[in-house]
C-alpha cells in the first residue's frame, strides 16, 4: 500500500538534514512564570507597600 510505503520511507529516511538540524538547534523559547504572587498569610498589606513598588492594577470601587 502506498501509505505503508510512505511510512517505511520515513522510518529509514534519516537525512543529513535531520542530523544537521539536531546539531544546529535554534534556541528554545523562554518560559516565564514570574507573575503570580501570594501575600504573606494573614498579614494586611494595603498601606504597607514599598514606595515606588509596582501598583496593583484594579478598578476603583463604586
Amino acid at each position: 500500500m502506498r501509505t505503508d510505503e510512505k511510512v517505511i520511507k520515513e522510518v529509514t529516511g534519516i537525512q543529513a538534514a535531520d542530523i544537521e538540524a539536531a546539531l544546529d538547534p535554534v534556541e528554545a523559547d523562554g518560559v516565564y512564570r514570574d507573575s503570580r504572587q501570594c501575600a504573606a498569610l494573614a498579614l494586611l498589606s494595603g498601606a504597607t507597600k514599598l514606595l515606588l513598588s509596582p501598583p496593583t492594577p484594579r478598578p476603583k470601587k463604586g
Partner: protein
C-alpha cells in the same frame, strides 16, 4: 515547529544513547554505551545517526576514566564519523561537532587518522553573550579539561559572558542550554564566584535532569570539577 517523524525518532535515539552515557558517568557500566555494530537496516541507521548527533560525548565516560575503549564501540563511533561528514555549507556547530568526534577518535585510538584542520570561530567574533552561550552549549562536547582548540580559547576569553548566559538560560528554563553552559563554566578561568556554580548545577539537574541530555552535561561537569582529565 512540528518535527518530522524521522526527527522525533532520531531525538529519541539520542536520548537513549545519552542515558547510557549518564549511567556510565555515574560509575556504572560503560562498555555498552554505543550500540554494537552490525545492526543493519533502519535500526542501525538510526543508532549511527544518534551517535553522530551525541557526538564526541558518546565516548566521554571511557575518556574521563581512562579506560581503553571497547573495540566494537570504537568501530561504531568511527563509522559515524565517516558516514556523516559535514556538508560544504554546514553550520559551524555541525563542523565543530564533527571535528570534535574526529579528535576524540584519534585520542581513543591513536592509529586513527589525524583530525582535519580546525574550523574557524569567525561566526562568534562579534556575537552577543546570549548567542555565544547558546552556541557553546550546543558545542558542550568540546568542554573538556585540557582541551585546546579555537572554540575553547574563545570560551576562555569570555567567562563572564558565559556565566551571564547560564543565568539567562536558567531564567528561561532552558535546561539544556544551562547544563551545557554550566559544563563550560567548570573549566573557564575568571568566572565570578557569585554565580554559585555548584548549587547551580544541582538546581539545573533538579529542574531538568529527567532529560538525559541535561543530566549528561551536569554529570560531565561534576566529573570534571573533581579533577578528571582527558
Amino acid at each position: 515547529m512540528e518535527q518530522s517523524g524521522t526527527s522525533t525518532r532520531l531525538q529519541a535515539a539520542v536520548q537513549d544513547l545519552a542515558s547510557g552515557v549518564v549511567s556510565a558517568l555515574r560509575g556504572g557500566d560503560h562498555a555498552h554505551v554505543v550500540p554494537p555494530a552490525g545492526t543493519d537496516g533502519e535500526a542501525g541507521d538510526l543508532a549511527l545517526a544518534a551517535v553522530r548527533v551525541l557526538g564526541a560525548d558518546a565516548l566521554l565516560p571511557g575518556l574521563l576514566s581512562r579506560t581503553p575503549p571497547d573495540p566494537a564501540e570504537l568501530a561504531v563511533f568511527r563509522k559515524a564519523v565517516e558516514a556523516y561528514p559535514p556538508r560544504a555549507d554546514a553550520a559551524p556547530t555541525v563542523r565543530w561537532s564533527h571535528w570534535a568526534m574526529a579528535r576524540t577518535l584519534r585520542r581513543a585510538d591513536p592509529s586513527s587518522a589525524e583530525p582535519p584542520d580546525e574550523p574557524d570561530t569567525a561566526w562568534l567574533d562579534d556575537a552577543t553573550w546570549q548567542f555565544v552561550t547558546h552556541q557553546l552549549a550546543v558545542l558542550a562536547p568540546l568542554a573538556l579539561p585540557g582541551e585546546d582548540c579555537a572554540v575553547s580559547r574563545l570560551a576562555a576569553g569570555r567567562p563572564v559572558d558565559v556565566a551571564r548566559g547560564f543565568v539567562r538560560a536558567v531564567r528561561r528554563r532552558d535546561w539544556r542550554q544551562a547544563a551545557g553552559a554550566g559544563r563550560w563554566l567548570t573549566l573557564l578561568p575568571g568566572v565570578p564566584d557569585s554565580v554559585g556554580l555548584e548549587a547551580g548545577l544541582d538546581f539545573v539537574e533538579l529542574m531538568g535532569g529527567q532529560d538525559p541530555l541535561v543530566a549528561l552535561q551536569v554529570q560531565a561537569a561534576r566529573r570534571m570539577r573533581t579533577g578528571a582529565r582527558v
